[in-house]
């Protein structure tokens, strides 16, 4: 395997509190050396991209890969291709596939099929995600499940949730809670507020999320288990988590870019790419989410990448399935809406997508420490991204950001020491002829795997 020297670029690694202009040498699939003036030998590929940032490969802890079951929408292959296009080298795959990932064999299947990026399976909490019988959490963990979630719905029965937390705690795994009280959601389609009043779409009150956030925090507190709350979207949820953390509860939480850059007002266009669960919230909620990211209440930014076919989305708004793709826009949306707006430093933003999700999942990833696996993203924080349907590598195109221009362009992604994505350098300013040739070579590599 060829060595790679990333030379003279700004290296940001929050896990080691690094933000300086140093070289990074990758050899044997790991970070071999860091420092100033590392010399490249003839075996080493030299990468020097002016203005670029070198960071740990991103960790997206909330992804729907659709395989098995809906390979027309996404496969593990296409999903990981999309991931590395977005600078993501490790992702956690949610178990709400067809069938549900609730047996060791399926965990093994999902875990072993990620080649371009690391795929970490999350297994179901209950058999078939039906909320009744605990799945074999111990065996699932042994097969490689990094966490458990019935994502897509809450475990409605509090006693089942309590036992799940107790049991997961015994085997040292985190429960990821999708917080939504189905009775309060009812036939709801969008966030309850002025926008739902105007659009006539059935409203979902914010308390539908918050009552379960509160319940699960109390259950985590009483069992001492580790709880991670998925896709926090409301002001009330942020407040509950903030208070729980102050009380010493072992809780972490995530939000998704759409909750800090879109609001329920965007739903009034009846554009089905805006339909998502939890629904886009009010401007006040958006402000609270941004504040939660700034003050550290929210630990993680994850995509909740949810591919849907064009056929499924080209229907009436209330008939469209909820969800939007997001792995490829995770970094540019976070830079554009959280860093360029001055709310977060670039270092803090990177931490939310690297070391912090890795810690929440308990996986070894998200750092450029010497000796760590060489999972690296090189990106230009000022580079423009014109989002079009064709730009996505995902099999599905259901993004509300098609047509927008964002900042934060991924130039190169390295997984286990191999270049798994590389921008067409001939179209990038500051590239040499040599780099162009190498780009062509590495594209062959991508195609070959």
């Amino acid at each position: 395997m060829r060595k790679i020297l990333l030379r003279g670029m700004r290296l940001i690694d929050p896990a080691t509190s690094t933000d300086e202009r140093i070289d990074l040498l990758i050899a044997g699939g790991v970070i071999a050396a860091r420092g100033v003036g590392i010399v490249a030998d003839q075996e080493t590929r030299l990468v020097e991209l002016p203005g670029a940032v070198v960071a740990p490969g991103l960790v997206d802890m909330h992804v729907h890969l659709r395989e098995p079951g809906r390979e027309d929408e996404e496969t593990i292959e296409s999903g990981t291709r999309a991931a590395v296009h977005g600078g993501i080298t490790a992702l956690a795959a949610m178990p709400n596939t067809e069938p549900t990932i609730d047996t060791p064999a399926w965990v093994e299947y999902v875990r072993s099929r990620g080649r371009l990026a690391g795929v970490h399976p999350i297994a179901a909490i209950t058999v078939g995600r039906e909320g009744r019988t605990l799945a074999p959490l111990g065996e699932l963990a042994e097969a490689g499940a990094v966490a458990f979630s019935d994502d897509g719905r809450s475990v409605a029965d509090p006693s089942v949730m309590r036992r799940a937390l107790q049991y997961a705690s015994m085997i040292g795994r985190t429960i990821i809670a999708h917080c939504e009280d189905q009775a309060l959601v009812g036939s709801g389609i969008m966030n309850e507020g002025l926008a739902s009043t105007r659009s006539g779409l059935s409203p979902i009150p914010t308390v539908a999320e918050e009552t379960i956030v509160a319940r699960d925090i109390l259950l985590a507190q009483s069992t001492g288990a580790r709880l991670h709350i998925a896709h926090v979207s409301t002001r009330g949820s942020v407040k509950l988590v903030r208070r729980a953390k102050a009380d010493g509860v072992a809780v972490t939480c995530e939000t998704c870019p759409h909750y800090f850059c879109l609001t329920d007002d965007d739903v009034r266009s009846y554009d089905t790419s805006m339909r998502v669960n939890p629904p886009l919230r009010s401007a006040g909620d958006l402000k609270a989410i941004r504040e939660g990211l700034r003050d550290g209440t929210i630990d993680v930014v994850a995509s909740d990448h949810a591919p849907h076919s064009l056929e499924e989305k080209q229907v009436e708004f209330d008939a469209a399935p909820p969800g939007m793709i997001g792995m490829e826009t995770l970094l540019p949306l976070t830079i554009t809406h959280m860093v360029d707006t001055g709310i977060l430093s670039l270092g803090k933003a990177i931490a939310l997508m690297t070391v912090k999700p890795a810690r929440a999942l308990g996986i070894t990833a998200g750092t450029l420490a010497t000796g760590a696996a060489a999972d690296v993203v090189v990106f230009d924080p000022e580079g423009r991204v014109e989002v079009t349907g064709d730009w996505f590598r995902s099999l599905s195109k259901n993004s509300p950001f098609v047509g927008s221009t964002l900042s934060g362009r991924v130039l190169m992604t390295i997984h286990d020491g191999q270049v798994v994505f590389e921008e067409d350098l001939e179209n990038t300013c500051g590239s040499s002829e040599d780099n162009g040739k190498r780009a062509a070579e590495s594209n062959e590599l991508v195609v070959g795997v």
């Binding site: 002025l194 009043t197 009846y270 056929e311």
Partner: protein, 322 residues
């Protein structure tokens, strides 16, 4: 004339002048309905499809009558024969309608925004005949026309809407139209039937029926769907009737010249007592007649926009020598 829109999707964002144009045009068509021969050749050669994805007798009949009185060719497509049941998407239905070269589409659909969706897939003009709980613009226009006939200029007039505002497309369209004409709008009904932050639309909300109707010039009573009782919105229809129903005793406490309206179909004895519905302050049947005239006016105005577009295109073609 002040009408340049291609579609009538709702009354949100509509200008006062546009409503005045529609109401003035309606007056002209209303007069036709009193003639012995009630048919004019205005829309001869124009094909209109009525797509009803939800049961409706009155609105569908009203549109069909309006279309026939304007001599349009009419195509009916109703829920029982709908493509949805055959697993086709609304988009495919739209593309088929488009392929049949239909000029205008009137659509009733249970999903809010369905007519907006249709505009992306159809070249013809679209009239929203009710989309879920969103809007029902022609109903609101016939309400406005009827109010104007009796009360004159609606600026400063007190209009109260009573009932299930949350699920009502009529209420939403009425609010937009009435606000555009400068009326003072009050909403009255149980708290479970009030949409969130509805006050921000510039209306007053009260849960006291006496407060709401005491000095009202017009009281528009909405139908209470019987299934709402099962949905947990109401303890019982009896309780609704006791707290919010309009009966003769309550009518006596209102202004003597108050106008009682209802978009129908009425639940006698629930939201309105039979003697009030049939009484001398009620204009409920007049609303039905005016509905046909308003729809004729709307179809006419939209056809004029289409015709002027065709003339423009012909001019351009002539200029380039095609």
């Amino acid at each position: 004339m002040n009408w340049t829109r291609k579609h009538l999707l709702g009354l949100e964002g509509i200008e006062r002048d546009e409503i005045i144009t529609i109401l003035d045009t309606t007056s002209r068509f209303r007069e036709i309905l009193d003639r012995p021969v009630k048919k004019v050749p205005t829309l001869r050669g124009i094909t209109i499809a009525n797509l009803f994805f939800e049961p409706s007798t009155r609105t569908r009949m009203s549109f069909e009558l309006a279309e026939k009185r304007l001599s349009a060719d009419v195509l009916n497509f109703s829920a029982s024969t709908s493509s949805l049941k055959k697993g086709e998407t609304l988009r495919d239905t739209a593309r088929n309608i488009e392929a049949m070269k239909v000029d205008m589409v009137v659509m009733r659909h249970p999903s809010p925004g369905a007519p907006h969706f249709l505009t992306n897939h159809i070249d013809g003009s679209i009239i929203n005949a009710g989309d879920g709980s969103h809007e029902h613009p022609t109903q609101a226009l016939l309400d406005l026309f009827t109010m104007r006939e009796h009360a004159g200029d609606l600026k400063g007039k007190r209009v109260t809407i009573v009932g299930d505002i949350l699920h009502s497309r009529v209420a939403r369209s009425d609010i937009w139209g009435l606000k555009a004409l400068g009326a003072d709008v009050t909403l009255c009904g149980p708290s479970t039937f009030m949409p969130t932050e509805v006050e921000k639309l510039g209306v007053t909300v009260t849960h006291d029926i006496r407060d709401a109707t005491g000095d009202a010039d017009i009281v528009n009573i909405l139908r209470i769907q019987r299934e709402r009782q099962n949905g947990g919105f109401l303890p019982s229809l009896r309780e609704y009737s006791a707290l919010f129903g309009i009966n003769a005793a309550r009518l006596r406490e209102m202004k003597p010249d108050v106008l009682i309206m209802h978009p129908g179909p009425i639940n006698r004895g629930v939201e309105i007592a039979p003697d009030v519905a049939d009484g001398d302050r009620s204009v409920i049947l007049e609303q039905v007649t005016n509905g046909v005239a308003v729809r004729m006016a709307m179809l006419y105005l939209l056809s004029m926009v289409r015709a002027s577009k065709r003339v423009e295109e012909a001019d351009i073609l002539a200029e380039v020598g095609a």
